[in-house]
């Protein structure tokens, strides 16, 4: 089985990363913002896996496991904040929270 050159996978993960970044900036619903952060983290993870495969080391996949763990913990806290946001502001629109100006 021919191996895929690392550059192609890195370009794919760069595209995923920018998709996540655009989603983070453009979306007003907090839920989709958290989703976009997840996409960005997983894109970085894909880049790690590709790099690990290029050097034939397990380090890339180990790092990906750490990334998954941390992303899971972060998104759990994020969902709690989403609940609190809804309780307080009665909406999931991030733009509703603008008491702190600037």
């Amino acid at each position: 089985m021919a191996s895929i050159p690392m550059q192609y996978v890195l370009i794919l993960s760069a595209m995923l990363f920018s998709l996540g970044l655009i989603g983070l900036i453009a979306r007003r619903n907090i839920f989709f913002t958290l989703l976009s952060i997840e996409i960005m983290l997983n894109a970085a993870g894909l880049a790690f896996v590709a790099a690990g495969a290029r050097w034939a080391q397990a380090d890339g996949q180990v790092m990906f496991m750490f990334i998954l763990t941390m992303a899971a913990a972060e998104v759990s806290v994020g969902l709690v904040l989403l609940l609190r946001l809804y309780q307080q502001f009665k909406t999931l629109d991030v733009d509703a929270a603008k008491d702190l100006n600037g």
Binding site: G60, M63, F66, A97, K98, L100
Partner: protein, 477 residues
């Protein structure tokens, strides 16, 4: 892992074990005081454990960590910062009606994460350290969730730090792809290979620097800082401004002592631009602030810019200049936010600068302490801030980084305006109705007085500390 490894990581083991114990204590004794005293004693124990750890240095503990005197110095600073924050939070959290055991637990865990950053020498421990600090801070910032400001601040922190972490990770992935190793020493060993200037490497380091600058709140990645600092509880803001930044700065020093930054290279230019922008924008933006916490937020942005000057100068004075300024910065910032916290409770914070008008008439000693803290931030005698700034200036001049030194001077001059405005407000005539908020907590004024005393002593007799730091930090940069 040998027994020597365990001894060299003893402070971290103590913090971890005590975190578990505090969790159990919160579950079994929802008593208000238990978690505070447990956290305080565990941080003191961890500080004491630095002494046996110092006898085993320098040491590589697994591939992830390296424990040397540099790491122990910053770890000591971080643990002391966590200790002071805990002590200052006690009076503040006494007024919180809900559960407050978790607050102290989270402070301890965040301190643990920042200590992890100080000893890290691998990308994985870098990521874990920042992850632990960030996760603890998301909850700490939102600690009174019935207040809209807290939730908003915590959301802003979550979203932006989540994005920053992803940017950091992507940069790390690109660097790993180029070098084949995630360990800092290996990066310097392999950096002589022909693919030195490959685009992946430049982009990777650029993204890494962007991620680090997010966490350090440097311009132009600083947009989250004023809102988060204003919305968070005052002791937590003091924690973010000192401990969280110190860990990442220590790691940045270690990383770039291995991956060299020759003056004039693209990465050095990126850092220099960030530093100059931070010093100028941070100071200019603070001039128009009416809220004391936002003012202190912009001032901390500027101070991190000042700290970048010796880092970029890479001279002989740089490591000790950076170390000394971190000590002074810790004391000053914790003192300033401690005074704000002493006059606040979880519902009303003493944030509006108009509320400080005439403080000297009503609360004499806190006003003097706050005034001294602001003098130190300005860099005026008799405080340690003067010595620190002179030291930064000397390190910058030694490295001949003239543009950075000029920005340091200009920034400090602009800084006079807003600091002196608060001092004048405090010493001017009080308004007709007096503020009803009084200082809270018995322990708070003792801690703040000790901090003020150390600040003055460092301003008048800095030589012992400078000598000690110069002996400790000799192998970085």
């Amino acid at each position: 892992m040998s027994i020597q490894d365990v001894i060299s990581l003893l402070p971290l083991f103590i913090l971890t074990a005590m975190a578990v114990i505090v969790m159990l204590a919160i579950a079994f004794w929802p008593n208000r005081r238990a978690s505070f005293w447990l956290t305080l004693s565990s941080l003191i124990l961890a500080l004491a454990a630095l002494v046996p750890a110092a006898s085993t240095v320098p040491r590589h503990v697994t591939d992830l960590f390296v424990v040397d005197k540099f790491a122990l110095f910053y770890m000591g600073l971080i643990l002391a910062g966590g200790l002071v924050t805990t002590a200052l939070s006690r009076g503040y959290m006494d007024k919180y009606a809900g559960n407050r055991g978790e607050y102290f637990l989270l402070i301890m865990v965040a301190t643990l994460g920042a200590s992890l950053l100080a000893i890290s020498s691998h990308f994985i421990s870098f990521f874990l350290g920042t992850g632990i600090v960030s996760l603890s801070l998301y909850t700490l910032i939102a600690y009174n969730p019935s207040q809209r400001q807290r939730i908003e601040a915590s959301l802003k922190y979550l979203i932006l730090v989540g994005a920053a972490t992803a940017i950091l990770l992507f940069g790390m992935a690109l660097i790993y792809a180029t070098f084949g190793s995630m360990q800092f020493e290996q990066i310097s060993i392999r950096a002589v290979q022909p693919d030195q200037n490959s685009p992946f490497l430049l982009i990777g380091f650029g993204l890494l620097i962007a991620g680090i600058s997010f966490e350090l709140a440097l311009v132009p990645f600083h947009m989250w800082t004023p809102d988060v600092y204003q919305g968070a509880p005052a002791p937590v803001t003091g924690f973010i401004a000192t401990v969280a930044k110190a860990g990442i700065f220590a790691l940045m020093l270690r990383l770039f002592s291995h991956a060299s930054l020759p003056v004039g290279s693209p990465l050095w230019n990126e850092f220099a631009a960030i530093a100059i922008l931070s010093m100028l924008v941070g100071n200019v933006a603070a001039v128009i602030q009416k809220s004391v916490k936002r003012l202190l937020a912009y001032s901390s942005i500027a101070h991190l810019g000042y700290l970048m000057v010796p880092f970029l100068a890479q001279g002989q004075l740089s490591p000790s200049a950076i170390g000394f300024y971190w000590v002074v910065y810790f004391i000053t910032t914790l003192l300033a936010f401690g005074i704000v916290a002493a006059f606040s409770d979880p519902v009303n914070e003493l944030d509006d600068s108009e509320a400080y008008r005439g403080m000297f008439k009503q609360h004499r000693w806190p006003a003097v302490m706050f005034g001294l803290a602001l003098l130190s931030l300005m860099g005026l005698p008799p405080t340690g801030g003067l010595v620190g700034k002179v030291y930064l200036f000397a390190a910058g001049v030694q490295g001949s980084v003239w543009l950075l030194v000029a920005a340091l001077v200009v920034g400090s001059v602009i800084g006079f305006f807003y600091y002196i405005r608060v001092v004048i407000l405090m010493f001017s005539a009080p308004p007709s109705e007096s503020t009803s908020i009084g200082p809270t907590g018995k322990g708070t004024s003792v801690v703040l007085s000790i901090l003020t005393g150390i600040l003055i002593i460092l301003g008048l007799f800095p030589t012992p500390l400078i000598g000690m730091i110069a002996k400790i930090i000799t192998n970085i940069l």
